[in-house]
Amino acid sequence: MLFVDVLAGGVRGGTAIMFGALGETVSERAGVVNLGTEGCMLIGALGGYATAAETGSPWLGLLAGAVVGGLLALVHALLVIWRRADQFATGLTLMFLGLGLTSLYGATYVGKAAPGFAPVNVPLLADIPVIGEVLFRHDPVTYLSFVAAPALWWWLRNTKGGLLLRTAGERADVLHVHGYRPGLIRGRAVVAGGALAGIGGAQLSTAYAHAWFEGMTAGRGFIAVALVIFAAWRPIWVMAGSYLFGAALALAPALQARGYALNQFALDALPFVITLVILAVLGKRTLRAAPEELRRVFESAPSK
């Protein structure tokens, strides 16, 4: 069935984007935009693949992806929080740096074999009609993502760490009054966000495409940034948005493999147009949900 295939493809292709977008959510909830998510994902994709190839363990690869993604984000954190550099420009630069670094050091891993994650059917659940196929016949990292989004939601809502992070994004001065250092809290959030994006990249290379190639994220990190806004900074909505976007990406091959004649370029533009339309429709409402400090970044960032 077409719609089952598209939904299953949406989960398959949406997972990497979701990790990237969850990372961006963490960062933005603390008040920092990271347009360099694309670079974090890319460096995570290489780090993950290379580590899997060298150690033989895709799980170690996933860990390495998180570490290098976090390290690149640390550069962003240092510049933005400590040096007060502009968030948009630094993020975009991070993307170029990620592209360059991975290409400089990634060449040896192009075409090199590495062990990856294979799809595992969840016993019983995989046999449920429709739902089983859409949700329970994927790689382990995808299952991890099922847990990651709700866990993040719960953490942000119910823990002290989550409260501090949200406060850093809403009313940093309050933290200051209570003796916390908002800069440090934000820095940690940005690094954690980069690590999540790195996991997304590693999922792309070790679980989805089973290959490393330079520039392989192909804009998925930018999409992740946009998704966070249309999800109004809520992890569960990020999850839904990622699958929607993944499904839009999966629509073209699903239709073509069935022999439908369609305009290739219209289908390619579809995910972006859908995102724009949703932003336009939800616009006002999502903006009201924006963390206060972040709104400041969005509304008057460039005037320094």
Partner: protein, 358 residues
């Protein structure tokens, strides 16, 4: 050249100015040296000789052919950087230069292919159409910002991808050159409708247009009431609103003008360099120009310098491959490091260090 422009600048206390300047130069130099040191370390890890690689790179820049190429490369970057500078004055972040450049080129191509037999008239029409196209594309983002409040940094980014698909559709289908051996590109523009070259150089007239545009932006921002209002809006939109300024209209105008400038950059690439619409037309112009503008903290004339600097790095980067045999993307690493160093260390925000880490 510079002397003719100096009188327009208000003269402040000279000692203060020169001290500021010296401080700025010191910081820039420090940042650049830092970037080069880190870059050298990365090359060493890669097993390359950084001194030879950088030496060859610097040597390769100072040939007449390279200088021409730098001028050609800088032309659209200057225009696209102005497309960031103008909206930035009102507080808007235009990350959509890439898409506006593409749509500018697409609209110019549409006009050019229809009327290029008319020569220079068609060229003028192409400039107008390209500017209009870029403005329209930026206008979508501006409209979304002003009506439903969606941040323009995000919408302009997304629109870049849509613009690319629009162009690809046109060059694979309706506009594809029937005599082009199946290549996805339009037919070339008639020679008479291309931008003329400057004298006997390989540099096209677009450079002049770009420099004039930059000077105009500078003059408008610094010497007109409109420019002043843009600045007030950017500084404090709430105060501007209370002062009775038409904030929405100012934001819209800045964004449209910015888009028009980026659209012009697309026309430069089309009518000055490529002569036909083809998939790789923009080559990251929009993104690189965005960074050039930030390097210059959104001041128009320094942004020209930023554009030239990035053009120098990307042209000099050829040498890293050709002379030193390094991978093509090595130049991206260098560019990234230089930008990060400048963004982080040459910026004025250094005094707030303790404040940020409180």
């Amino acid at each position: 050249m510079t002397t003719t422009l100096t009188p327009a600048e208000p003269v402040k206390v000279p000692s203060r100015r020169s001290a500021d300047l010296l401080d700025g130069v010191r910081r820039w130099a420090g940042a650049l040296v830092g970037a080069v040191v880190i870059f050298s370390a990365l090359l060493l890890v890669k097993g390359a000789d950084p001194i030879a690689a950088l030496g060859d790179m610097v040597a390769s820049i100072f040939t007449s052919a390279s200088i021409e190429q730098i001028a050609i490369k800088a032309t659209p970057l200057i225009l696209a950087a102005m497309a960031v500078v103008l909206p930035a004055r009102t507080g808007l972040a235009n990350v959509g230069g890439e898409g506006q450049v593409i749509i500018g080129a697409v609209c110019a191509a549409g006009v050019g292919l229809a009327f290029d037999s008319m020569g220079p008239v068609a060229l003028v029409a192409m400039l107008v159409a390209g500017a209009a196209g870029g403005a329209l594309w930026a206008g979508i983002a501006a409209a979304m910002r002003l009506t439903v409040g969606v941040n323009e940094a995000v919408t302009t980014l997304l629109l870049n991808y849509v613009a690319l698909d629009v162009m690809l559709y046109l060059i694979y289908e309706p506009w594809k050159d029937p005599n082009g051996s199946g290549q996805p590109a339009t037919r070339p523009l008639a020679v008479a409708a291309r931008l003329p070259l400057i004298g006997t150089t390989a540099v096209h007239m677009g450079l002049v247009i770009a420099l004039v545009a930059a000077v105009l932006v500078w003059l408008v921002l610094r010497g007109t009431a409109f420019g002043f209002r843009l600045g007030v809006t950017g500084g404090n939109p709430e105060a501007a609103r209370r002062a009775g300024l038409p904030v929405k209209r100012l934001l819209l105008t800045a964004m449209l003008l910015g888009g028009a400038l980026a659209g012009l950059a697309g026309v430069m690439q089309l009518a000055g360099v490529e002569f036909k619409l083809r998939p790789g037309l923009t080559a990251n112009i929009g993104y690189i120009a965005f960074l050039a503008a930030w390097l210059a903290r959104h001041k128009p004339l320094p942004a020209v310098g930023g554009a030239v600097l990035l053009a120098v790095i990307s042209i000099g980067g050829d040498s890293l491959q050709l002379d030193s045999g390094l991978p093509a993307a090595t130049v991206n690493v260098l560019m990234g490091l230089v930008l990060l160093a400048v963004l982080g260390w040459a910026s004025k925000g250094t005094g707030k260090r303790t404040d940020a880490l409180r």
